[in-house]
């Protein structure tokens, strides 16, 4: 009986020893990677740039920096998951004290990250680099007068259209609301669409379109004033409702394969899109040479020639970073590598150099200097900022937009839902809201 027991105990013990041995390996490798020697500092940077084939990879850009700055060594890591996951991870990392020094965040996420206690105040360290970036983008990295990082790229909304297909129909890029509706009607009669209503992008695109005329969220005496039913919102709702009713807008979701199919087979010949969609529309429509063009938004929603934001991101300093100055020094350098970042499909926020249109783009967009057009849009954005917890608002808008797209709801509902969800979100976070 005793021997049996021993056998078993020995077996279990050996398992345990194995586990301990493995654990030992693991922990030593983890600790050695985060060590720093003497004056040499190591900056860790979590990004989610595409890093696609043919682009200048983040690692390659960073390598240049590391070679020139032996005392500030940067290690860049690509985050592979969704944006919502990343925020969760950063929260956990900051609590655990293992957060990277720098991380890429969308502009809409910055207030949320601040409220969640993820950001480090780098006002003093970042201020000297303010001149390198467009003022609007820089302000998106600021809250309560403090700065938390440097902007990287912008996502102004622009209008993409196929010039040849427009000529065929005898229409031009509409300048006014009436022209837009009339041209859409004309195109629809020929089985084509010059506008899309993208339910899955409602929380970004519709917000941006409405935001072109006036902001939704303003702070007065430390309280939020929430008004998502601005005149701009009403105009957006009105125009899209008319187009949906008249079946003159393409209503399939943006990221469903049929959207690409419609671009490819020439059914969808014009759409509002974010600046970063320029290479995507190019890929989806088949690339090569074409007569597609980029234009500024017309005065369709009372936006008076202004445009609004859809996406775009900056890089923030995360709470607990020990090398604020070094991190900002690197970041300023990185975010002003205009040529390299352009290859990643970014419309950079840096104003230090003029971005060149990649060859493939100008081929596809009929020889147009696309980048110039996009940068122009970037500098023409209305002031718009987001509230902490905006992701919940965007999600609610998306659901409601799906109902508007299939006719079971109204476009105006999207903005009423945005109103209630915004107020609920702020209240649930115990922030102050002016009623």
């Amino acid at each position: 009986m005793n021997t049996r027991g021993k056998h078993l105990v020995a077996g279990v013990a050996s398992l345990a020893v194995m586990a301990l041995a493995l654990a030992g390996c693991g922990s030593t490798s983890a600790s050695s990677s985060s060590g720093s020697k003497d004056e040499k500092v190591e900056i860790t940077y979590l990004h989610r740039l595409p890093d696609k084939e043919g682009m200048t990879k983040v690692d390659e850009i960073v390598k240049k920096w590391n070679a020139a700055n032996p005392n500030i060594q940067v290690k860049a890591t690509k985050y592979a998951g969704e944006a919502s996951n990343m925020m969760k991870k950063l929260e956990a990392d900051v609590k655990a004290g293992t957060a990277p020094d720098l991380a890429q965040l969308g502009y809409a996420e910055v207030p949320e990250a601040f409220t969640k206690g993820v950001l480090e105040d780098v006002t003093a360290e970042a201020d000297q680099y303010k001149k390198d970036f467009s003022a609007g983008a820089y302000s998106l990295m600021q809250l309560n007068g403090k700065t938390f990082g440097l902007p990287q790229d912008g996502g102004p909304l622009v209008y993409y259209y196929n010039e040849a297909a427009f000529k065929e129909l005898g229409i031009d890029v509409p300048k006014t609301q009436d022209e837009l509706l009339a041209s859409a009607q004309k195109a629809a009669a020929a089985g084509k669409y010059i506008m899309s209503f993208q339910a899955d992008e409602a929380g970004n695109m519709l917000t941006g379109l409405a935001g072109a005329s006036s902001p939704w969220y303003t702070v007065k005496s430390d309280k939020w004033n929430v008004n998502t039913n601005t005149d701009g919102s009403k105009a957006v709702a009105d125009v899209f409702q008319k187009m949906i009713d008249a079946k003159s807008a393409f209503v399939n979701p943006r990221w469903e394969p049929s959207f690409d199919a419609a671009l490819k087979d020439g059914k969808l010949i014009g759409t509002v899109g974010a600046a970063w969609e320029a290479p995507l529309i190019m890929d989806s429509a088949g690339g090569g040479e074409s007569t597609w063009k980029v234009a500024q938004l017309g005065d369709w929603f009372g936006n008076k020639g202004k445009t609004g934001p859809d996406g775009g991101s900056g890089v923030v300093a995360l709470k607990g970073t020990k090398h604020k100055a070094e991190a900002m020094k690197f970041l300023d350098w990185f975010n002003t590598q205009v040529e390299d970042l352009t290859t990643q499909g970014l419309i950079v926020s840096a104003t230090t150099a003029t971005a060149k249109t990649p060859d493939a783009w100008s081929k596809f967009y009929g020889g147009q200097d696309v980048m110039k057009e996009l940068v122009a849009a970037n500098n023409n954005m209305g002031d718009f900022n987001f509230i902490p917890g905006y992701s919940a608002v965007g999600a609610a808008m998306k659901e409601t937009a799906a109902k508007a797209a299939d006719g079971s709801g109204k476009v105006a509902d999207i903005f009423s839902v945005a109103q209630t969800t915004s107020v609920d979100t702020l209240k649930n976070l115990k922030l102050s809201v002016a009623e």
């Binding site: 279990v12 339910a199 990221w255 394969p257 979100t425 922030l431």
Partner: protein, 314 residues
Amino acid sequence: MTAQKHTQKKVRGFSTKRQNITGWAFMTPFAVLFSFVFILPIGWAIYSSFFREISEGGGAYGGGELVHKFVGLDNFIYAATSDKFWTGVGRVVLYTVIQVPFMIISALALAMLIDSYIVKHVTGFRLGYFLPFAIPGVVASLIWVYLYNGQISPIAKGLAALGIPVNFYSGNIVLLSMANITTWTYTGYNMLIFLAALQAIPHDLYEAARIDGANGFQIAMQVKLPSVRGAALLAMLLSIVGTIQLFNEPQIMQIADPGISKSYTPMMMALNTSQGSITPSGDGPASAIAIVMAIIAGLLAMVYIMAERKVNES
């Protein structure tokens, strides 16, 4: 479970003390890791379900830090009174009622056919049926997103050409489209489990039956079916539990149908609450949703077990 009373005969000549020691010795490695991976995190989840993360100091942006605030049963009250939550529960229950029996019966039928020796060389079938299980869930859903698309999918185009245009995303059909993805992924896997159980039946058992003149169908019904009953009931129970936690399929189908909300299923609601796309957000409300949902799943599983027992007795 049900099999317990048959096999749990006392092992003779074996003292209670020895059973204690030996039993735990075999149990320990699993128990240790299990506590580490399940019990501790669940304890954490229960603990955090009594808290909410709010920003202290108020103002427009708060103090730049969220604080843990004890809120008693607030999170549970929120979950239990949320329309979104109960709509989601109703949806997964409906889904389960449709999908699980269909899948289990299909899997059982395929397993019995493969095991019937009517068709020789079944390796190809076996492998083919199992293959979808090896495709990562997100990729499988992506494939089906294409195959459901009216303008791209050869299936949808084919059906339309036959005069049966189907919109796989419309109204209630979207639930069936989702159920199809689950069925596609897991039928082969369940079939393998049944097959393993069928192959564990001693050969001489049905050799004897055959010699005695029972035909293939009788053998299947009277020897095989009773033998895989345990496996089938277990598979059924696990599938119920699995589908109640439905997550991957609707999450990916959102790409094609933005009408699938962040709270389409309770599991989605929990995860999205934890990640901040549903307000109130944070781990507190998310844990409460998960716990209430686990309790519901437990009740359903118990109802199933009891119903199953009652049917057996009668």
